[in-house]
């Protein structure tokens, strides 16, 4: 079918528009109708912009539609973080990344579902209800950027932005079979990203492939005078790393990431993927990140502590939900009780507890020190190797509802992604294969701080030798009506 762009990459589309083969409007209406036909099953979008938001900017991706996680501010549009407490809030300003996307000529076609305030690994903690995994709609898409990952996997949009505090881009990318990139802390401005763990948060692209990933990174990276923590380090042209050449690249396999808890099938997929790297001439080394086992504990002190403070601003006075009351204290308490979901409350309590008097030294301060140790582990290992290769998640996508009542086991499933945030390094999850049930399995490449080019080159090389990333979710997910049109 002539008008089916679903197998196009974002970059392909941009070139098609540039060549006059199609218009941005045609492309947008193609994806909007896909959303209309398919998203009732997936529930990956929170809001769809039937009039895409954008400006006439020039870039290698101009005219291409993009979806935005619902925790990144777009001026004049609802920003909810999938929380009842913000349900009617309109942003009065653009996040820096949104400014950049607009001036690069991209077209924003909607906002995507997420775990409330990015608290979660399944996109079940959303006030809008869960998003479903396109590969098996009984399964979660991962989280917290599950809406973005599911939408990209189902080709409801060529790519999307997500945010990653402890794996929230990479883990859903892994569960949905797409590429999810968490840049080095400071690479992308956080201005306009509703903060979760301010010292850990990064915005990053979710794409089907590394070409789009590199082009998007070129657009969104760079210093921002509105973000004191953004880096002044010059941004290279990441598309120059799109070369299928990794001879001599030193890949480290941290032994702590291949031990107990790792699903056999996932491990098998990764072993095969490793052989692809080796075949292309990469050198593989066994390495160690000795403090890995403390990462989850340190993370679940630092991130909730920062979050508990960041979320204090939601109080019913300036914006968002307000549950009326005669006195201020009960206004606060009722608003925040009704406005926040269960997981948000759990994290707020956990963070408030860790910071409260008498516990600060035992928890928060200690966690910051452990963070130093974890960072040093990475410094050491990157003296020996260029990149690390690990699983993204110990398991493939699990069933909706399966873990929701067991927060600790949910937290523990972040074990492979958390360290990159604590250390501030860059990392990407990309499709490495499938389980026998047809669920995608992601592998993770971790690079040095500001070593994005290494992991892009490695990932791109992998994708020139494999086509896991070209596989699309099976037909079973689409509606009867869609089947008749047989667009796949």
């Amino acid at each position: 079918m002539r008008d089916d762009f679903s197998s196009f990459t974002g970059y392909d589309i941009a070139r098609a528009i540039k060549n006059g083969d199609c218009s941005s409007e045609e492309i947008c209406s193609f994806y909007l109708s896909r959303i209309k036909n398919i998203d009732s099953v997936l529930h990956s979008f929170v809001e769809v912009y039937h009039e895409p938001v954008g400006e006439n900017g020039e870039s290698s991706l101009s005219g291409v539609p993009i979806a935005i996680k619902d925790n990144i501010c777009i001026e004049g549009r609802k920003i909810t973080c999938a929380s009842k407490i913000l349900s009617s809030h309109i942003s009065v300003y653009d996040a820096t990344v949104i400014r950049k996307l607009k001036s690069a000529g991209l077209k924003i076609i909607g906002t995507t579902n997420m775990d409330e305030f990015a608290f979660g690994s399944s996109t079940e903690n959303s006030c809008y209800g869960p998003t479903h995994n396109p590969w098996n709609t009984d399964c979660v898409p991962g989280g917290s950027s599950g809406g973005s990952a599911a939408a990209v996997a189902a080709r409801l949009v060529p790519f999307a932005l997500g945010s990653d505090t402890g794996g929230s881009i990479r883990q859903p990318a892994s569960f949905c079979g797409v590429v999810g990139f968490k840049p080095t802390y400071g690479r992308v401005s956080r201005f306009g990203l509703v903060a979760f763990g301010s010292s850990l948060d990064q915005i990053g692209p979710i794409t089907t492939n590394f070409v789009d990933c590199a082009h998007l990174l070129n657009i969104i990276c760079g210093i921002d005078p509105y973000d004191s923590t953004s880096s002044r380090r010059p941004v290279p042209d990441f598309t120059r790393s799109l070369v299928p050449e990794i001879r001599g690249l030193k890949i480290g396999l941290p032994r702590e990431y291949f031990g107990e808890g790792l699903d056999r099938e996932v491990e098998g997929v990764l072993k095969e993927a490793l052989m692809v790297f080796e075949k292309m001439g990469a050198e593989v080394y066994d390495v160690s990140l000795p403090h890995t086992e403390y990462a989850v504990a340190a993370y679940y002190i630092i991130a909730p502590s920062e979050a508990s403070s960041n979320l204090q601003r939601f109080d019913g006075i300036k914006y968002g939900l307000r549950v009326a009351s005669d006195d201020l204290l009960s206004l606060y308490k009722k608003t925040r009780d009704e406005g926040f979901g269960r997981e948000s409350k759990r994290r707020i309590f956990l963070g408030t507890y860790s910071l409260s008097s008498g516990y600060y030294d035992a928890y928060y301060l200690r966690a910051l020190k452990v963070r130093t140790l974890i960072k040093k582990d990475f410094d050491e290992v990157f003296k020996k190797v260029d990149v690390l290769f690990t699983p993204t998640s110990p398991v493939a996508a699990f069933k909706i509802g399966e873990r929701i009542e067991d927060p600790l086991s949910m937290y523990l499933s972040d074990v492979y992604t958390i360290s990159a945030n604590l250390a501030g390094v860059c990392a990407v999850s990309f499709p490495c294969g499938f389980t026998k049930n047809g669920l995608p399995v992601g592998g993770q490449l971790i690079g040095r701080p500001f070593g994005e080019e290494d992991i892009i080159r490695a990932g791109f090389s992998f994708q020139t030798e494999t086509d896991h990333h070209k596989r699309m979710p099976p037909l079973s997910l689409v509606t009867e009506e869609q089947k008749d049109k047989s667009w796949l």
């Binding site: 920003i79 201005f191 509703v194 903060a195 004191s228 923590t229 502590s305 914006y319 409260s356 928060y364």
Partner: protein, 475 residues
């Protein structure tokens, strides 16, 4: 047995920057409610703070002026508590590592009191909160003030009387004004002061139960509240009662302090390092730059004035009451080196005129012009009345003194030949005064001098006129 009062003060002072500490909103006073606001200072989701360079520099300047040890690497922390004037429900402040520590300021000796060294515990930078307006049934919030840079200056408990606290505040304010970091206008809330006060029996080493005092709106209020509180606490102890650690509010109208909250509900601020800001480096260059902008501090200037000029303490204190005035005084001396007369004319007529004309800030008068008026007076070229008239005319114009004298014909008439006709007329027209004089009433002479002054439109030299009248009447 006697009691000793122990006082520590916590002063908050707004730094006079153009924009707020973490965003570009204006700091203008008395703007309509919620006009100087933006997503950043309103705590909107997704915003981030970026520190104002000027705020940091002014804070460094204060730390230098207060002889603090300056930490070369500082960071901010979040102080978490819910209050509607605090949009983020945390305040970006400093906690573990303040900008300045271990400073001091010396209150000079005066009025027979010894000089006193007051140690400064810490100086730290933070953001101001908004304003609440209380109505009968509800409250209103204005965020204009939210995010104005605020400096917290905390003393050690070194002050031992309400008067000492008053003197410390006066000197601190003067110092901050001299170094041009704040206008310190307490009425506008640019300077606020809380106090900690305890009493103990003389000779005791342990500090007594600490009471925190709030809601004082002037230095006098601070002094009165402390005096009240000190007396109250001593009475309690005398009666064998126990004091509880608590916060009390000063009620200016009733002249009493009242309990605000007791320590049981103490806050748990959950301080932690502000992850949205990076560490700041206070370099030697920055410190030196601020040090060189400070100039002579008021305490030093006071000592020098007392040593170099034949003035009384009271006079010196008036001359030092603002940086502008003290440099005006010394600039005048460069033109006309007569400290006594310059000082007299500043303390007297100049301040009088300034009062009438809306304060010294309104003055356009240059030291050269002012010195010229005083010199002309001392040289007898103009008299007292004309000098004041000229001063009035040039105060807000800095016009040409000689022009005014010429135009208004203010040159003093000192020639007896020219004055004789007026003297004779006055005597002829006032036989009663002449008679009074013959009965020994000396005031009659002054009356007659006044008549001559009126006839000459104030231009006559009153000394010579008086001389002439006395000689004439004694004939």
């Amino acid at each position: 047995m006697g009691f000793e009062t122990v006082i520590g003060l916590e002063v908050h002072v707004q730094l006079n920057t153009n924009s707020k500490i973490f965003c570009g909103c204006s700091t203008a006073f008395e703007s309509p409610p919620n006009t100087n606001i933006c997503p950043v200072c309103c705590g909107y989701p997704g915003v981030l703070p970026v520190l104002n360079r000027r705020a940091l520099e002014l804070a460094v300047r204060v730390s230098v002026a207060l002889n603090c040890r300056i930490n070369n690497r500082i960071y901010f922390e979040r102080k978490n508590y819910f209050y509607p004037d605090l949009p983020k429900n945390y305040q970006i402040s400093q906690y573990k590592l303040p900008l300045g520590e271990n400073g001091f300021i010396v209150i000079p000796s005066s009025k027979g009191r010894d000089k006193k060294k007051v140690r400064i515990k810490r100086v730290h930078l933070e953001e101001d909160a908004g304003k609440l307006i209380h109505k009968k049934a509800y409250s209103l919030v204005d965020f204009n003030r939210t995010g104005i840079p605020l400096l917290e200056i905390v003393t050690e408990p070194d002050l031992n009387s309400p008067q000492e606290a008053f003197d410390y505040l006066s000197l601190l304010k003067l110092t901050l004004q001299y170094i041009e970091v704040s206008t310190c206008d307490m009425e506008k809330g640019y300077l606020r002061c809380d106090a900690n006060i305890s009493v103990r029996r003389e000779g005791e080493r342990e500090l007594g139960t600490k009471i925190e005092l709030k809601n004082m709106n002037s230095f006098r209020g601070v002094r009165d509240a402390l005096a009240y509180e000190s007396k109250r606490q001593i009475n309690m102890l005398r009666e064998g009662k126990k004091l509880h650690q608590e916060t009390r509010l000063w009620d200016e109208a009733k002249g009493v302090t009242m309990v605000m909250r007791s320590k049981e509900e103490a806050h748990d601020y959950r301080y932690f390092p502000e992850p949205d800001l990076v560490d700041f480096f206070v370099t030697e260059e920055m410190i030196e730059e601020q040090r060189s902008s400070i100039g002579e501090l008021p305490a030093d200037k006071r000592r020098r004035f007392l040593e170099s000029y034949p003035f009384e303490e009271k006079e010196v204190d008036i001359l030092l009451s603002s940086r502008w005035l003290s440099s005006f005084f010394e600039d005048c001396l460069k033109v006309f080196d007569n400290p006594r007369n310059i000082a007299n004319w500043i303390i007297g007529p100049l301040l009088e005129v300034a009062n009438e004309k809306g304060g010294l800030e309104a003055a356009k008068l240059s030291p050269a012009t002012f010195a010229k008026i005083v010199r002309y007076f001392v040289e007898g070229r103009i008299n007292n009345i004309s000098a004041k008239k000229i001063l009035c005319a040039v105060f807000d114009t800095d016009g040409d003194v000689d022009d005014i004298i010429k135009k208004e014909g203010l040159t003093q008439v000192s020639s007896e030949d020219d004055l004789l006709v007026f003297v004779e007329e006055s005597i002829k027209e006032n036989p009663r005064a002449v008679e009074d004089f013959s009965h020994g009433k000396q005031q009659a002479v002054m009356f007659l001098v006044g008549q001559v002054m009126r006839k000459t439109k104030g231009k006559a030299n009153p000394k010579i006129v008086r001389d002439m009248i006395e000689r004439r009447l004694k004939q």
